[in-house]
């Protein structure tokens, strides 16, 4: 009970510090922008720890963060192996393939109004196929190793990327296109000099959405068959072994990898679309 009270107290004080920081004079400094979410995260972790201990929550239901950290530290080798299998082999290759294919398709679709009208509704429909249904099928088709995971990722990222790229390519204003017309520019000149750069913010939007989809897709696909490694494999088998600390360690890896992946793409975006008002701040 003491621990529970302490947890409540901790929560309140964490919130109070953040309020002071966020509404203080330094609110816009880099340090505060970083500190506030960090303090929030740490408070959540501490409260979690205290509650789990205070309420005697069984280990097999929810392990305390400290136990997860210990498991993480002890299993870095295994976690790294799983990460390579799922993220690098499965998610990343599928991401590159899917986004690349979507980009090329978008160019095709963009050249023909007929294709755009026809393909996008169908695409929206296909994108609505739930992954838990497509994953077993793709595992059956492409085998148990990373290829089927990549296939699942391709299917997942293809349409969001396609829709965004197509939207981006038609993002130019009438005036900008007229300008190209007055220069009697060819299609590809117009494409590379106007439409592609103008589409960049949209393309990056698609790329960013796809990052989280890719990782989740690869992990979920492993639930439906895999070699004896990978993040999804570890999660599903560890649940059965009641090794919940391992499950959470993998979740931490997933969150870390997903966030870093997203951050990396966002960084690239900053570089590539430095000119866009949203990036100029």
């Amino acid at each position: 009970m003491m621990l529970v009270l302490f947890a409540i107290l901790l929560w309140l004080s964490g919130w109070w510090i953040n309020t002071r920081l966020a509404e203080g004079p330094q609110a816009n400094s880099r340090a505060v922008r970083l500190a506030v979410p960090l303090i929030f995260g740490l408070t959540v972790l501490a409260v979690w720890e205290l509650l789990v201990r205070g309420l005697n929550v069984p280990l097999v239901i929810l392990p305390a963060p400290s136990l997860i950290a210990v498991r993480f530290a002890q299993s870095t080798g295994l976690l790294w192996q799983d990460f390579m299998q799922t993220f690098v082999k499965g998610a990343l290759s599928g991401y590159v393939l899917g986004c690349g294919a979507a980009f090329l398709t978008a160019i095709l679709v963009d050249r023909s109004d007929f294709l755009r009208r026809g393909l996008l509704p169908v695409g929206n429909f296909v994108a609505a196929l739930p992954i838990v249904g497509t994953a077993p099928i793709l595992v059956m088709w492409f085998g148990f190793d990373w290829e089927s995971k990549a296939a699942v990722v391709v299917v997942m990222v293809f349409f969001p990327m396609l829709v965004n790229t197509v939207a981006g390519l038609s993002e130019t204003t009438q005036m900008q296109r007229d300008l190209m017309e007055t220069y009697a520019a060819s299609y590809w000149q117009g494409f590379f000099k106007l439409r592609l750069p103008a589409a960049m913010p949209f393309i990056f939007n698609g790329l960013k959405i796809s990052t989280t989809l890719a990782l989740i897709g690869a992990i979920v696909a492993e639930f439906f068959g895999s070699p004896t490694m990978g993040m999804g494999f570890r999660i599903s088998t560890s649940v059965g072994q009641l090794a919940l600390d391992m499950v959470w360690a993998e979740i931490v890896v997933a969150a870390l990898a997903g966030t870093l992946f997203y951050g990396a793409v966002a960084l690239l975006e900053r570089v590539a679309t430095f000119w866009h008002p949203s990036q100029r701040g």
């Binding site: 966020a22 922008r33 009208r117 249904g133 969150a255």
Partner: protein
């Protein structure tokens, strides 16, 4: 009209590719059956055929092509097989029957709707908090983004068990998972929407000395409605996926997710595909319905063009 024709063309093209794809996809299985049925298959045994390309097998065993569209448990069912299964399990069955996709669709739909409502309400509340409080914005928003990188399928069983342990069973656990997936797009869209009034519009209210509450109800909320609908459409699709995922660890009792899984246990590919399409159709219907509502509401608000 023009769009309709275009969609029709694309669908027809997909069908054609699909039928053609069935041949190499299913040829191995068909030949095994043919071999057992006593037909002359080249090469004669499954083991020899394993390492031979599908196309080569098709050219050597042309007679087997029609069978690739009529297998019982094909690797890739032909479109008409899926269509027939869909037709049989939706229109030819009593909707109360456990074999009716309408029944399973309904089970999933009810969890979807409940989850969607929970997720939307939560998302809106969170967005309001984020827009009105810097602390909320700075501390919660980054973690809301991180939360979306966690594979829900890993969390789902734990959510279910935790809810079990506090005595919550039935539709609610599924709805919670579905809400988890749908709240994020709503938060993002709503925050964008509530922040969409420009400086001038906010200044106008300041010159009236309007309170925060007045600003919320008279300006921020109405301006956010188009954004809200855009994210609701994403949210409901996510909700449906959540409900289906939630059905896997709840004992796969009923619902489209259970149907998918059950199809999976017994290698009933046709059944999987039918459930898959049913889910996509349901998603399309839900999104379409929201689109309709959007049109009506925006028109009544006078914002629609």
């Amino acid at each position: 009209m023009k769009s309709f024709l275009a969609v029709l063309t694309v669908v027809a093209a997909i069908m054609a590719v699909w039928y053609v794809a069935c041949v190499p996809m299913n040829i191995h299985g068909v030949l095994v059956e043919a071999e057992r049925g006593g037909a002359d298959v080249v090469p004669a045994t499954a083991r020899e055929r394993r390492d031979i390309g599908a196309v080569a097998l098709v050219t050597r065993n042309g007679f087997a092509i029609p069978a690739t569209w009529a297998q019982d448990r094909p690797r890739l069912p032909a479109p008409h097989q899926v269509a027939i299964e869909l037709w049989d399990t939706t229109l030819n069955k009593k909707i109360t029957s456990k074999r009716s996709l309408v029944y399973h669709g309904w089970v999933t739909l009810s969890a979807t709707m409940l989850g969607f409502v929970i997720g939307t309400v939560l998302g809106i509340l969170l967005a309001v908090g984020i827009v009105h409080s810097r602390v909320m914005d700075m501390s919660v928003m980054p973690w809301a983004i991180v939360s979306q990188t966690i594979p829900i399928i890993a969390l789902a069983p734990m959510i279910i068990v935790v809810l079990y342990s506090v005595g919550v069973q039935g539709i609610l656990p599924k709805a919670v998972i579905s809400a988890y997936l749908s709240f994020f797009p709503v938060v993002v869209g709503m925050v964008k929407g509530l922040r969409s009034p420009d400086g001038m519009q906010l200044d106008l209210l300041r010159t009236y000395n309007a309170s925060r509450t007045q600003g919320f109800w008279k300006l921020r909320l109405p301006s956010s409605i188009p954004y809200l609908f855009a994210s609701l459409k994403i949210g409901i699709a996510a909700s449906l996926v959540g409900a289906i995922v939630g059905e896997l660890p709840t004992g796969a009792v009923a619902g489209l997710g259970a149907r998918l899984l059950a199809g999976s246990y017994y290698g009933q590919t046709v059944q999987i595909w039918a459930a898959l399409f049913a889910a996509a159709i349901l998603a399309a219907l839900l999104v379409g319905l929201l689109g309709l509502m959007e049109r009506v509401v925006l028109r009544r608000m006078g914002v629609a063009s």
